[in-house]
């Protein structure tokens, strides 16, 4: 860890274990509340964190079984960077996760929603993924 002053950054490391995504979500919700986000936005931030953590738990196959979360608090936005040291994925993997499911109503699929929910609820959204793992980043801006 560098000895720099990271005034507005909180870092959290959680094990890939039952309900640990709630710890990450709550940390985000306290930061959102302290930063005066409203209740709906705080819930949206929590859902985005939960979905991204669960994806790392379910899909990353990481050996260290840990998820690393950075929360960066700015005047009117909250950024989260969620990293695993797993196998990574491509847009094709993501597409397959949607295509390969059976369902009764073609427009009501059961899985393959995590990334889409996160993308829809947040204002900015990025994926960096490779053989050293995945970092999903998103930014929520305060409603004006």
């Amino acid at each position: 860890m560098a000895n720099t002053v990271l005034k507005d950054q909180v870092s959290l490391t959680i094990p890939m274990d039952r309900d640990m995504e709630l710890v990450a979500a709550k940390t985000g919700s306290v930061l959102a509340e302290l930063n005066h986000f409203n209740e709906d936005q705080t819930e949206e931030i929590q859902l985005a964190i939960i979905e991204t953590c669960i994806n790392a738990f379910e899909h990353s196959q990481s050996e260290d079984r840990q998820v690393f979360i950075k929360y960066i608090v700015k005047a009117d936005e909250l950024e989260c960077k969620i990293t695993d040291h797993g196998v990574g994925f491509t847009p094709e993997d993501q597409h397959n996760s949607i295509a390969n499911r059976q369902q009764i109503h073609s427009d009501m699929r059961k899985r393959g929603w995590g990334l889409e929910i996160t993308m829809t609820l947040m204002d900015e959204f990025y994926i960096e993924s490779g053989e050293n793992g995945t970092t999903v980043s998103f930014i929520k801006r305060m409603a004006s």
Partner: protein, 114 residues
Amino acid sequence: MANKFDIQVRAENKYAVLETAGYLNDALGEDLSKKAQELIQKGYTQLVINLEQTALINSIGISILIEIIEALDERDGTLNFCGLSATQERTFRMMAIAKYAGIFPDEKTAIANF
């Protein structure tokens, strides 16, 4: 708060209400599914799921809700939700759940609209 495993079932004559409390994840979702299947086995085809005491739902929890909708569909039944937060309702609409299940502000309205 989070993850208090808790499902209340109130079975009336024509319908039944399932009320959850706490984080709706795979575990609580499967518990809910089991209770809904039991009601469906008993012949109930009109179910209300009241999510007022559930602040957080993950997408695995929602996928289990979709299975309940599908099980009711096979018997021409209906599922009505109530007690959703604005964000939950938004997510349900995004996932097309709102097309195959009802979404109502409170239990009374959910029951009145079967």
